[in-house]
């Protein structure tokens, strides 16, 4: 198959062949081999399954596949057996033989090893993660048989670039990177820009600690990202694209490299895509090097150009003057993975999901003090309570829920009273949080909110690029105040100073990092002020995190 110059009709043929090939197997054992499960022995489990089906003589009817993330990262290695989607948890190589013998040979699922938490999946809606855990990301045929690249073929064969942009506009899709800008509108801007060549940059610089949704997507379904990029490139008239990915994600890098090579070999990327003679596109990976600010859209451009990832003032916007001063479309990879679905099913179909102003779904990494941490995808508009208590199963060990941090280190800490807030860009902004790149961290009574705010401030100081004063100096001053308060030297006037400086930093900073960095401070002051007062007046930290001597010794 490699090296075959694909024509339009061939896609259908490959899909049919692959479906026939897969139908020959009665069972399929999907072993999650993403970064969440590999450290805990997933590759050994994969090998053990391959051996077990051979030993028990069922290798003709049972396919063992290496797949991406199934989502239940806390009980890895996770294994999904089709048909019927039986999900096994915490599988070890020793258990594989029993599973194959009972489930495959005898047809009796091993109930004691199955994942018990049904509620984890019932409230989810897996669109972007449609193939995650189901297809082998290293085989392009798997993706094609799941309908992959048919949206690209549809665009090239039957739609004009304007038609594509129209569908995306109709869908109401908003950028999943955090700011929530209308995707269709962005494409129209780049498409209208008079300058060439045009570029497209896919943002996979998932720098938010506590967030791994984009990585998981790249590891589970790399071709969905590539297809989304190709369609975007066709719509805006770009001939060159870059995927900017964190160097901390070696498996995602490998998976994407392989996927790009396969797509190139089949002329899905190259000078004459699908042999139509109308569309060419080249795609390269670019590696980040550990800078949170590089996720900002002007900073990512600087980094792709090989410079320090420092944001610059806008305008000019990247749509007019981006990479090497040429029109550039910057899009988060999750946004791109939505594109093929919208083209296949139409913008109208997509616009009916989620809320009217915020359509579709959103992937979240659900972590912290929660019973079922993992990767989830939920419709926009679902409430935080549903996510934390129904999907997440609430706080473990009988501890009391204290706060939920939404939107990464520059998101907001929300108390229990705000759990009814729906998850969408506007509602989250209203209560002081942000969508960010999709991190939800649950905090219980063991954490101190003053210490939490201090921790995030410290993170933002580390990651501030230092270009503009409010962010560089303002955050450092806030950290000094936090150090005072957490060492028993706080004064009541510190609260007002923090409130005032946070607003300054937010309003006067150049880029998104500085503008959102004070969010944890603002929200903890708004919702947990009594803890600050307790620290200052009573010199007491109920969670027992502050007033430690070690820090004093360090000073």
């Amino acid at each position: 198959m490699e090296g075959l110059k694909l024509k339009l009709d061939d896609l259908q043929k490959i899909a049919e062949q692959e479906i026939d090939f897969q139908r020959a197997y009665k069972y399929r054992i999907n072993v999650c081999c993403s970064s969440g499960c590999v450290p805990f022995g997933a590759l050994k489990v994969l090998k053990a399954f391959e051996d077990a089906v051979k030993e028990l003589g069922v290798d003709k009817e049972c396919k063992v596949a290496r797949t991406g993330c199934i989502g239940t990262c806390s009980v890895g290695p996770a294994v999904l057996i089709e048909p019927g989607d039986y999900l096994y948890q915490s599988v070890t190589p020793e258990k594989t033989r029993e599973i194959v013998r009972d489930h495959i040979v005898l047809g009796l699922p091993v109930k004691s090893m199955l994942y018990k938490n049904e509620a984890y999946f019932t409230k989810q809606h897996r669109l972007v993660l449609r193939n995650a855990g189901k297809i082998d990301p290293s085989r392009i045929q798997d993706y094609i048989s799941a309908g992959g690249y048919s949206a690209l073929a549809k665009c090239l064969a039957t739609m004009t670039p304007q038609g594509v942009i129209y569908e995306i506009r109709t869908s109401g899709l908003r950028g999943r990177g955090g700011a929530g800008f209308q995707t269709g509108q962005k494409w129209a801007l780049v498409s209208r820009a008079h300058n060439s060549p045009k570029y497209i940059v896919a943002n996979l610089d998932e720098g938010d600690p506590g967030v791994f949704a984009n990585r998981t997507l790249a590891e589970a379904d790399p071709h969905a990202i590539i297809e989304g990029m190709l369609i975007a490139a066709y719509a805006i008239g770009a001939e060159k694209g870059y995927i900017y990915i964190r160097s901390e994600y070696p498996l995602a890098i490998q998976t994407l490299q392989k996927a790009i090579a396969q797509a190139k070999a089949m002329s899905l990327i190259g000078d004459n895509i699908l042999e139509l003679g109308t569309f060419k596109f080249d795609l390269e990976l670019r590696f980040g090097a550990g800078a949170f600010v590089a996720g900002e859209e002007t900073a990512i451009l600087a980094s792709v150009e090989g410079r320090r990832a420092m944001p610059r003032p806008r305008p000019p916007y990247p749509a007019n003057s981006g990479l090497w001063q040429k029109p550039t479309l910057i899009q988060n990879v999750e946004t791109l993975a939505n594109i093929p679905l919208i083209i296949q099913n139409g913008g109208q179909w997509f616009s009916k999901m989620g809320t009217p102003k915020c359509t579709g779904t959103k992937c979240f990494s659900l972590t912290g003090k929660i019973n079922n941490p993992g990767l989830i995808e939920v419709p926009m508009g679902i409430t935080l309570r549903e996510v934390v208590f129904e999907i997440g199963g609430g706080v473990p060990d009988g501890k009391k829920f204290k706060a939920v941090l939404v939107g990464g280190p520059s998101g907001g800490c929300l108390p229990e009273t705000l759990l009814e807030s729906p998850i969408d860009y506007d509602s989250l902004t209203k209560v002081g949080a942000i969508m960010g790149s999709g991190g939800i961290v649950v905090i219980d009574e063991d954490s101190c909110m003053v210490d939490t705010a201090r921790f995030f401030t410290e993170f933002c100081i580390d990651e501030s690029c230092g270009k503009c004063t409010p962010c560089r100096a303002g955050l450092a001053r806030e950290k000094e105040i936090f150090d005072k308060i957490t060492h028993g030297q706080g004064e009541m006037s510190d609260i007002a100073t923090l409130e005032k400086s946070s607003v300054f930093i937010r309003d006067a900073s150049l880029c998104g990092l500085g503008q959102t960095a004070p969010n944890p401070v603002i929200t903890t002051l708004r919702y947990f002020k009594d803890e600050y007062i307790q620290h200052i007046v009573e010199k007491k930290c109920e969670a027992g995190k502050c007033f430690k001597t070690r820090d004093e010794a360090e000073e």
């Binding site: 806390s74 938010d208 600690p209 506590g210 160097s247 590696f287």
Partner: protein, 162 residues
């Protein structure tokens, strides 16, 4: 041929593959760090000359990104994940225990150069938090006892300096 010559040939190939383009600086630095282990002054001067970039530019880029290392690392590297999920789940306590047990500070190495302790802002295995990486192995749901035992094993059973 000395090791240095071999490394220089590998570097030259990387430079050539990237057409000596200034825009490929990050990729070249990544490869250089892979080849040499860390980026010292002579190496950076060499790269700056090859790409026809001012040394200040190259040095500025290297120090901006936390991934690039200017100093030689210890024989074994322990990295604590200080991402949000790990912090909430108590990674700080484990880090303090490692610092105390092996008598080093985060960002530094032991006097004998056997062990370095680094921090990273999230390795993305948040569901298994807290995570500590010992060389290339991720220890999920880590406790200080497990981690210290693992580090001792890695160091070859040599009793740690206290």
């Amino acid at each position: 041929m000395t090791t240095d010559d071999k490394r220089r040939i590998m570097l030259e190939k990387i430079l050539k593959d990237n057409n000596y383009k200034a825009s490929a600086l990050l990729e070249i630095l990544h490869s250089a760090q892979e080849i040499y282990g860390y980026l010292d002054k002579d190496l950076l001067m060499d790269i700056s000359g090859s790409l026809n970039l001012p040394p200040s530019h190259v040095f500025g880029v290297v120090t901006f990104y936390s991934f690039f290392k200017l100093r030689k690392q210890g024989e074994h590297v322990v990295t604590g994940c200080l991402g949000t999920a790990c912090y909430v789940k108590g990674v700080e306590e484990i880090m303090e225990a490692i610092e105390e047990e092996f008598n080093l500070k985060r960002g530094g190495s032991t006097a004998d150069g056997k062990l370095s302790l680094l921090i990273t802002r999230c390795i993305g295995a948040c569901a298994m938090a807290p995570n500590i990486v010992v060389d290339d192995e991720v220890i999920g749901k880590a406790t200080k006892e497990i981690v210290i035992e693992k580090i001792k094993q890695t160091l070859g059973g040599i009793k740690a300096e206290t």
